[in-house]
């Protein structure tokens, strides 16, 4: 046998053994200790719930900052100091007026359409609307915007722009009304719903009665009617009687009305904690993952006639996540934050579920690891947290999948109760401390002029070959926190894609041509996207 053949025979063995064996999981590296983040969500019974994190850029470098709820401890804004694709670095902003106590969660959005993100801070007590003024400075705008923050135990939030309103309508989900006799059982607080008046003032609250102890809200156009409804995940732990999950019609200029059995709505009673939405079935309509205690649901529209009838596909999709996936525990899990996003950029959306025992509920798992479900081409999910080296048994609450170092790989943040918040850098296909790309990706911003600049309520479609990914642009959901950042799409092995936007008023953009692995901004009335190159590093704050 000649030399070439011998070498070929040797190499053939390597060829055979070097092939990957399954959908590739991203390698995650926990960088909590070196990240500069040191934060816990603490407190007594009132802080068994909540514990959200808001991820958003407040100093105009596109590197997202992190605002952590602190419960009985002070909330904290951490300024991103990371460099492109490098280890995650943050510094806690001192003298920030966001450093409040009694914060349960926060949601970023541009309320006043000035191009600078504002922040809605949820609290045990007065909720606050903070107006962003740039350089991560915020002003309490409750008075300016005519908003009475109330004194409820607020644990959920969502926002939507109705029609041509200059400001968003705001929904605050409140938990137990502690002032009622017999509290906590059967004393759930109503959800508060604020519509801006013609002067942009939030002077009138329309309580959504009955309230069933909301832990997550989401305005979502579930049937693509052009008019979002309000989906509410409610905690059955405290409601009684007719308590259930809710879906409210929000007709413009009219009072909200609950969907009824006659309209297809089926009563569902779970310990609703968090909502994640994404179109998993390819019908262009969002599907919803609702976290709970053991009985997490994945709801997809079941009706063909436009009625609000959903069915649960969690089991067939492999995301029941009803008990810990590792260890010997058979006790049920407790799920909190949930988020769909593509962490390995293979174009099949993934699902992250943050878990943790409420406090000391002995009927539920104490060691309850967070789930990282990787989507597959078959529409199912494969648990991968352990393979991704991000096993955590902390008592999780809020979280976020967000690209913190702008390398096209979504990193992970988790808020834990009475334990350190955690942060993982997504190394993709890399190992040790060197990241490497996985699939191709797009990071999109969509903007329009006038009000609702970030087009909340729009749908973004990204098409590659015979598949279209559809994503609703929302503010809300998750558990007590959300991100306002680039809309991330994994596109797998596609080198290019086309995208279009259905703007909130229903008008479609043309198909926009995009090349892979770029940040791009789609502006209304423009048929090409503007691309964007990340700064070499986050720029910090101007002194």
């Amino acid at each position: 046998m000649n030399r070439l053949k011998k070498l070929l025979l040797m190499s053939a063995l390597l060829t055979v053994t070097s092939y990957a064996l399954a959908i590739e999981s991203p390698q995650m590296r926990e960088e909590t200790a070196t990240s500069g983040i040191s934060h816990q969500y603490t407190g007594g019974w009132e802080y068994f719930v909540g514990g959200g994190v808001a991820a958003f850029d407040c100093n105009d470098d596109q590197y997202p900052e992190l605002y952590f709820a602190g419960g009985a401890s002070s909330a904290a804004l951490y300024i991103n100091q990371s460099a492109l694709g490098q280890p995650l670095k943050f510094s806690k902003k001192s003298n920030s007026n966001l450093a409040l106590d009694a914060v349960t969660g926060a949601y970023p959005l541009d309320i006043d359409n000035d191009g600078i993100l504002d922040l809605v801070v949820l609290r045990l007590g007065e909720n606050m609307l903070f107006k962003g003024t740039g350089n991560c400075q915020f002003e309490n705008a409750n008075k300016e915007w005519g908003f009475d923050g109330g004194n409820a135990w607020t644990t959920a939030f969502a926002a939507t722009w109705e029609g041509k309103s200059t400001k968003p309508s705001l929904a605050f989900g409140n938990y137990v009304d502690r002032s009622q006799a017999g509290s906590p059982f059967g004393t759930c607080h109503d959800t508060d719903f604020y519509r801006p008046n013609e002067r942009g003032q939030y002077s009138q609250n329309t309580p959504l009665t009955p309230g069933y102890c909301a832990l997550s809200l989401l305005f979502t156009d579930w049937n693509r009617s052009g008019q979002p409804s309000l989906k509410i995940a409610n905690d059955r732990q405290y409601y009684r009687g007719e308590g259930q999950e809710q879906l409210w019609k929000i007709p413009q200029g009219k009072p909200p009305v609950r969907y009824t059995v006659e309209e297809g709505w089926h009563r569902q009673r779970i310990w609703g904690m968090g909502i994640a939405a994404a179109d998993l079935t390819g019908d262009g309509k969002p599907d919803y993952y609702i976290t709970s205690m053991a009985d997490n649901k994945l709801s997809t529209l079941a009706s063909q006639d436009g009625s609000a009838r959903f069915k649960d596909i969690a089991r067939v999709s492999g995301v029941t996540a009803h008990r810990p996936f590792t260890g010997n525990a058979v006790l049920p899990s407790t799920g909190w934050h949930a988020q769909f996003d593509d962490v390995n950029n293979d174009s099949f959306i993934d699902l992250y579920v943050v878990k943790g025992n409420v406090e000391a509920m002995s009927d539920f798992a104490t060691l309850d690891p967070n789930n990282l479900f990787l989507g597959t081409p078959e529409g199912k999910f494969i648990e991968s947290a352990e393979r991704s080296d991000m096993l955590s048994f902390h008592r999780g609450r809020g979280g976020s999948l967000v690209d913190l170092n702008l390398d096209g790989l979504l990193d992970v943040v988790v808020v834990n109760r009475k334990q350190d918040s955690q942060i993982w850098r997504n190394l993709g296909a890399g190992s040790a401390d060197k990241s490497a790309a996985m699939g191709n990706w797009l990071a999109l911003k969509i903007v329009q002029s006038g009000s609702n600049r970030n087009a909340i309520g729009a749908f973004i479609e990204v098409r590659v070959a015979d598949r279209t990914q559809s994503r609703e642009v929302t503010v809300g959901g998750g558990h007590a926190g959300d991100k306002a950042h680039w809309h991330h799409f994994g596109i797998g092995v596609a080198e290019r894609a086309v995208a279009r936007v259905q703007w909130p008023d229903g008008e479609w953009s043309p198909w926009i041509r995009l090349f892979a692995n770029q940040h791009a901004r789609i502006s209304r009335d423009k048929s090409t996207a503007d691309t964007w190159l990340p700064f070499a590093s986050a720029k910090g704050l101007t002194q």
Partner: protein, 469 residues
């Protein structure tokens, strides 16, 4: 179980798991590829051995036992399942439509061009092939280009991409620093690719980029100029034309399946194989000018070159592009996911392309006689619509736009035009419209003899089968 099935299973098993165990004397072995090579092992081979392996793959008539055929997958360059139903094993339009790369790329030899009979039907059957016909609304019919000098082509494109992206980065930095908008020309190797406008907010307006994709990657392959690398094109073609699916594109990482095309074979071509076949193509002889022994024709060709320039043909068919380095590293730096990338953790292979026949400028750049600017141009208009004879845009590129044909070797590669439907050089010149109208008008204004001299010059741009030293 039939004897045929047993043999198929046996050989299939061999190809799946025990390639190394393939004996030389396996009776009835009908595989075309009896050994595969791993990327990590390339370093153990000489360049000659790697090129030999790549050439073997290029010339191999793949069989079902190699994994040829894709009964459950389409020709799409990204994994797409075929609609269920019976489909032909070989299909002239939607493919698989050939047994070997060299089945089409064969004139004057392996790696060469092909005549009209070996045209391909690009984009046919990406999703559904059942009702496709030869009508242009279903596919773009394309001739088979030669691959001589293609390593140099890819190297030129890589250097141009780097230049363009560096200009972009610098301009963005300038805009951010000055907090003011910045306009900048995009020029690489003396070729103008339009303009970038960067806003004070750092966002880049791409609408004035000209002749190159807006990610500023020069994609030098295919008549449209839409493929980045030999590797990418090879991976696409292996699937489309042969039904040989690489793990780089169709493997479990992307499809959750180790046999996406459901032909019963896994790991049909390895990353090492793809590197070898890319290196083989990169190594194919550089086209040369071969002047006629006949003194009259020789002089005519020499004069024709000047006339070619006088007519501004060289405005797009740029005679030389300067190249800094002849070192061809595989995988290339601009590959996207689905093609091996330098970041994928596999060792790169470095191959120095031969400098034979190349001259250098005063700065030490190698002068590559490519006769192309590697830029796309509008090449048809209402007066001269011939080249707008397709109906499907390809990879965002309009139907009247093509990359300037690389004229090196054009004297050996009739017929002409992207569809290979023009039999003479004179005709193909006269079909030029759009941005080439002015040059064509100059050509038409020349005397008949002058025009013939230009043709004689073009005839002198030859492919050669001389051994690479």
């Amino acid at each position: 179980m039939s004897a045929l099935k047993i043999i198929t299973l046996l050989l299939g098993t061999v190809s799946l798991t025990a390639i190394a165990a393939t004996p030389d004397d396996l009776i009835g072995d009908e595989r075309a590829v009896k050994q595969h090579i791993a990327q990590a092992e390339l370093q153990n081979f000489s360049a000659k051995e790697i090129i030999a392996h790549g050439k073997m793959l290029f010339n191999a008539k793949f069989t079902a036992l190699d994994g040829a055929g894709r009964p459950a997958a389409t020709s799409s360059e990204i994994p797409v399942k075929k609609d269920p139903g019976i489909s032909l094993a070989m299909f002239r339009t939607a493919g698989p439509d050939s047994n070997a790369c060299a089945g089409c790329h064969n004139q004057p030899g392996s790696g060469g061009a092909g005549e009209f009979v070996v045209n391909v039907f690009a984009a046919s059957g990406v999703t559904n092939v059942d009702f496709d016909t030869l009508e242009p609304q279903f596919s773009n019919e394309r001739g088979t280009p030669h691959l001589h000098g293609s390593g140099l082509v890819e190297l030129l494109a890589r250097e141009m991409s780097a230049q363009l992206q560096a200009i972009r980065s610098k301009a963005v930095e300038q805009a951010r620093t000055s907090k003011a908008s910045v306009q900048v020309r995009l020029t690489a190797k003396g070729i103008d690719f339009g303009e970038l406008s960067i806003g004070a907010d750092g966002f880049i307006d791409i609408s004035k980029i000209d002749g190159v994709d807006h990610d500023l990657i020069v994609r030098p392959f295919s008549q449209k100029g839409v493929f980045t690398s030999l590797r990418q094109f090879t991976i696409n073609a292996m699937n489309a034309h042969h039904g040989i699916q690489s793990d780089e594109r169709w493997g479990t990482q992307w499809t959750n399946s180790d046999d996406f095309d459901e032909d019963g074979y896994q790991h049909e071509i390895s990353s090492g194989d793809l590197t070898a076949i890319s290196i083989y193509q990169a190594s194919i002889q550089t086209p040369v000018q071969q002047l006629s022994q006949n003194k009259v024709l020789k002089q005519a060709a020499i004069e024709g070159e000047q006339l070619f320039n006088d007519a501004d043909c060289s405005g797009c068919h740029t005679q030389y592009l300067p190249l800094k380095s002849l070192l061809f590293s595989e995988p290339g730096p601009y590959n996207a996911a689905g093609n091996l990338r330098p970041s994928d953790g596999q060792p790169s292979y470095q191959y120095p392309i031969s400098a034979e026949g190349l001259s250098q400028d005063a700065q030490g750049n190698w002068l590559i006689p490519i006769f192309s600017d590697l830029k796309r141009h509008v090449i048809a208009d209402s007066d001269k619509p011939h080249f707008a004879n397709e109906r499907l845009s390809q990879r965002f590129i309009a139907i009247d736009e093509f990359m300037s044909a690389k004229l090196w070797g054009v004297g050996s590669t009739a017929p002409f035009g992207h569809r290979g439907d023009v039999s003479t050089l004179m005709e193909v010149i006269l079909h030029h419209g759009g941005e080439a109208s002015a040059s064509r008008l100059k050509f038409e204004a020349m005397t008949d003899l002058e025009r013939r001299k230009i043709v004689e010059f073009l005839k002198s741009l030859q492919l050669t089968l001389a051994e690479v030293k």
